[in-house]
Structures are given as structure tokens and as C-alpha cells.
């Protein structure tokens, strides 16, 4: 095995181009488990810890540019206002030790359907910036996941950062597991309200081969809120609307039975999470009067 230590981004891209089968290692919280257990014996590791750019974030007018290796603990401390959904999800990852090392780039690299970054990225709207010696491209996050633990990266590409829409309204994340810490999601759900455009975003975790959005549920809720004038009035979302929204969220799922839960349980729990997070974001919207016209 080789251990490659690029000192900067250019060197990292050159290393990946020269060794396409090399495995990048950032926080190591996925990679090292596989190596320790003999599940993976790559020819080479590319250590990304020395690359300063990957550990930086920048808040722009509409988006946050989040370096691939900014650890979860810093997202929680430094970006709770700009990225509230992701910060909530980050707080449920593993333990303090895991959150000090792991980050969104590694979560995207692993592309587990249970990864906790995915629902909030899908709900907020995000593009993954990937690069190689051939150039840079941006992939909408919903197109980044291509299968169970598969993603859209070419063998010579690395993830540089994620461009995530800054929150323009309330966001929530909720996850079902057996305890509060150190839990792989049985199912998870992220929800974002975008009052400026009167749209909503969703993200579903652990209920399909890849993380997915529930597009039909989003369109239905947008239309229902619009027709009843609720964005302006800040009135209560009728239970029938919340129920239908939850049903459509569940319809977007395609869960399996596994050791963590049955498909039936996942569907049931997902409906509960959808209704509950809708309650939370709508309460916050009404309370804070996020861009509401006649308050």
C-alpha cells in the first residue's frame, strides 16, 4: 500500500489522476473501519487532511460553499443559521469523536443511503463540486447518488466542496434510531421551507437504495399552502393536508426489511417524521414571520 500526502489541492488532483484506484481518506471514519476489518485493501490512500481549502467554508449571497472536509462539529458550531437542517443532522452523527473527524465530503463519498447529510442537502438544494486534472463540474446533489453506496464520481475525481442554498426559511431534520448517540438511521427525513419562492424541499434517508426527494409531496404541499393563502395568513396547516403530504412522502420511499427495521415500520415512521417536521417548520414560520407579507 502507498500513503500519498498531497500538500495542496493541485497535488491531490494529480495524485488521484496518477492513481485512480487510490482511496481518498479525510476523517477516516468510514475508510479506517473498512481497513481495520480487512474489508478494504486499497493500493494507496490519499490523505486529504493537509489540504487547507477542504476545511474552509464561505457564506455567499445565496449559497454556502462548504469545503468537503469541514468536520461536523464545526458545521454545528459555525453554520447553524445558514445551514440549520444540515447542522441538526450533523448533531445526530455518531459521537463527539466522530463529529470532530467526519464531514460531508466523506458522507457523499461513502454515499450510504443512511448518511445523515443527505436529507438536509436534498431539502435545502445543493450542488456537489467535483474536480479532476481534466476540470471542474457541479453535480446537483439529487444526481450525485447513483446506487447503494455508489456516486457520480469518476475514478480520477475528488469532491472539492458542496454549494448549499442558504436557509431562507425554517428547516428541520428528524431521524429514527434506537438511542440518541451513535445510531445509523432506521429512517430519516429533512424538510425545508423556502418562503421567498413559496416552495418546499424534502429529503428522505434510509428508505430507498439512495437518498431521495419526494417531489410529488413537495408539489402537493406548495399548492395546498398557496391555494389556502397560508403563506400570507400564517394559518394552521389543515390535518388533511399534513396527512396527504405524509402519504406522498411515504409513496416516494422504497424501503427494505433489514436488521434495523422492517419496510413496514420504516413507512410508518417516515409518515410520522413527515407530519412532525411539517408541524415544527410551520410553527417556526408562523412564529418568526419569515418574509410573511401582512403580519
Amino acid at each position: 500500500m502507498e500513503f500519498l500526502r498531497p500538500a495542496d489541492w493541485t497535488e491531490a488532483l494529480a495524485a488521484k489522476a496518477a492513481h485512480p484506484s487510490a482511496v481518498p481518506i479525510a476523517g477516516g471514519t468510514d475508510v479506517m473501519v473498512e481497513i481495520n476489518f480487512g474489508l478494504r485493501r486499497p493500493d494507496a490512500l490519499i490523505d486529504l487532511n493537509r489540504i487547507v481549502e477542504l476545511r474552509e467554508w464561505e457564506v455567499g449571497a445565496d449559497t454556502v460553499r462548504l469545503g468537503a472536509a469541514v468536520p461536523y462539529s464545526r458545521i454545528i458550531d459555525e453554520l447553524p443559521t445558514e445551514l440549520p437542517g444540515l447542522a441538526l443532522a450533523a448533531h445526530t452523527v455518531g459521537s463527539p469523536q466522530i463529529r470532530n473527524r467526519g464531514g460531508v465530503g466523506g458522507n457523499l463519498g461513502a454515499a450510504s443511503p443512511a448518511g445523515d447529510s443527505h436529507p438536509p442537502l436534498l431539502a435545502a438544494g445543493a450542488e456537489v463540486e467535483v474536480a479532476s486534472v481534466r476540470g471542474t463540474r457541479r453535480i446537483p446533489v439529487e444526481e450525485f447518488y447513483t446506487g447503494v453506496k455508489r456516486n457520480a464520481l469518476a475514478p480520477d475525481e475528488l469532491i472539492r466542496c458542496v454549494h448549499i442554498k442558504r436557509a431562507d426559511g425554517p428547516q428541520q431534520f428528524s431521524k429514527v434510531g434506537t438511542r440518541n448517540a451513535m445510531v445509523i438511521a432506521v429512517c430519516a427525513f429533512g424538510l425545508a421551507l423556502h418562503p421567498a419562492t413559496r416552495t418546499v424541499g424534502t429529503g428522505l434517508g434510509s428508505v430507498a437504495p439512495t437518498p431521495v426527494r419526494a417531489g410529488a409531496a413537495e408539489r402537493f404541499l406548495e399548492q395546498a399552502l398557496d391555494e389556502a393563502g397560508l403563506w400570507d395568513s400564517g394559518g394552521v396547516v389543515p390535518p388533511a393536508v399534513a396527512g396527504k403530504f405524509a402519504d406522498l412522502v411515504v409513496a416516494a420511499a422504497n424501503p427494505i426489511d433489514d436488521v434495523r427495521g422492517t419496510a413496514g415500520y420504516r413507512r410508518h415512521a417516515l409518515a410520522v417524521l413527515a407530519r412532525r417536521t411539517l408541524d415544527w417548520v410551520w410553527d417556526e414560520y408562523r412564529g418568526k414571520e419569515w418574509g410573511r407579507a401582512c403580519a
Binding site: 500500500m1 500513503f3 471514519t29 479506517m32 473501519v33 481495520n36 466522530i98 473527524r101 451513535m182
Partner: protein
């Protein structure tokens, strides 16, 4: 490959390190520092917890090469500079006094984690303590004595700090120490 880094303030070098080897393996098997324990090798138990450039991390999940040139603090270094040689750090003494150690396998990781917590938050709430220790498993104590130990260390450091803060505003020493032992 050769890896060199600082452990508890001293420069160390390890040769013939396999590229996939963990920092934990290097500490225990190559540098003769077996304080950090190996129980799960998958980040679940926290018994291998060390500080890497100040951050608490699972040493089993850090590739040895990633520690190159960095500063590692292990349980062996906790008592450095804390009183006479061979003495215990305040957090270690608190664990002894509160009866927070049974088989002791989880103890090094908990000490490193708790020490980092108190450095950051000298008077943590119970919720803060639970959150901070949520990545450290103990199969013996049921955790209550461990929580007691962290509270005890926090109370002692508040009490200890009081006399050095002169003037009428100095707060009275809290008398909230739980009884040692039981």
C-alpha cells in the same frame, strides 16, 4: 513508512509503519503507550480516545500517516504538569474518589474525553456531560459514578480556583461534592 509526531510533548518516530495502520496501533504496539485501549476498532466505544491537535478523536480511526507532524495527547500525558511526578491529574483523582472505575477498560478514553470537556466547559451541566461522553461506552459502572466523577472534578476545580481569585467578589467555594465511594 516512517511516521513522526509529538506525543504528550515528546517527539516520537515510528519505522516500518504499514500504510493502513491506525494511530492507535502505532501508539500501543510501536511506541509502548498502551494506555489508549483497543476494544472495537470501529469508532463505537471511545476506549481509544486521544487528542489530535487538541480535538478528541478515536485513535483507531486515524491513519497513522495522518498524524505525521501533529500533536497527540494520550491518557499517559494527563498528569503531566499536574503536581508531583507520579501523581494523578484532577480528573483521574476524581474518578478514583467517585468510584468510577471498575474493570477500567473504558477509563482511559473517558478520562481523555472528560478532561477535554472540563477544559472547554469548566462547569458543565448534566446534559453537557452526557453529550460529551456519549461516544464512550462502559459495560461495568452504569455510568452514574462516572457522571459523579466529572461533577466532582468540576466542583473541585471551581473550589480550587476560588482562593486564587482575590478580593471581596471571590465566589464562595461550592459544597456540592458527592460523597466519595458510595
Amino acid at each position: 513508512m516512517r511516521v513522526s509526531f509529538t506525543v504528550n510533548g515528546r517527539r516520537h518516530e515510528a519505522d516500518d509503519v504499514w500504510e493502513g495502520e491506525s494511530l492507535l496501533f502505532v501508539l500501543r504496539e510501536r511506541l509502548g503507550l498502551p494506555g489508549s485501549k483497543n476494544a472495537c476498532e470501529q469508532g463505537e466505544c471511545g476506549s481509544c480516545t486521544v487528542r489530535l491537535d487538541g480535538e478528541v478523536v478515536c485513535a483507531c480511526l486515524v491513519a497513522a500517516g495522518q498524524a505525521q507532524g501533529r500533536e497527540v495527547r494520550t491518557v499517559e500525558g494527563l498528569a503531566d504538569g499536574a503536581g508531583p511526578p507520579g501523581g494523578l491529574a484532577p480528573i483521574q483523582q476524581a474518578f478514583v474518589d467517585a468510584g468510577a472505575v471498575q474493570c477500567g477498560f473504558c477509563t482511559p478514553g473517558l478520562l481523555v474525553t472528560a478532561d477535554a470537556l472540563l477544559e472547554r466547559q469548566p462547569s458543565p451541566s448534566d446534559a453537557d456531560i452526557r453529550e460529551a461522553l456519549s461516544g464512550n461506552l462502559c459495560r461495568c459502572t452504569g455510568y452514574e459514578k462516572i457522571l459523579d466523577a466529572v461533577r466532582l472534578a468540576a466542583a473541585r476545580s471551581a473550589a480550587g480556583a476560588a482562593p486564587t481569585a482575590p478580593g471581596p467578589e471571590a465566589p464562595p467555594a461550592p459544597r456540592s461534592e458527592p460523597e466519595p465511594g458510595e
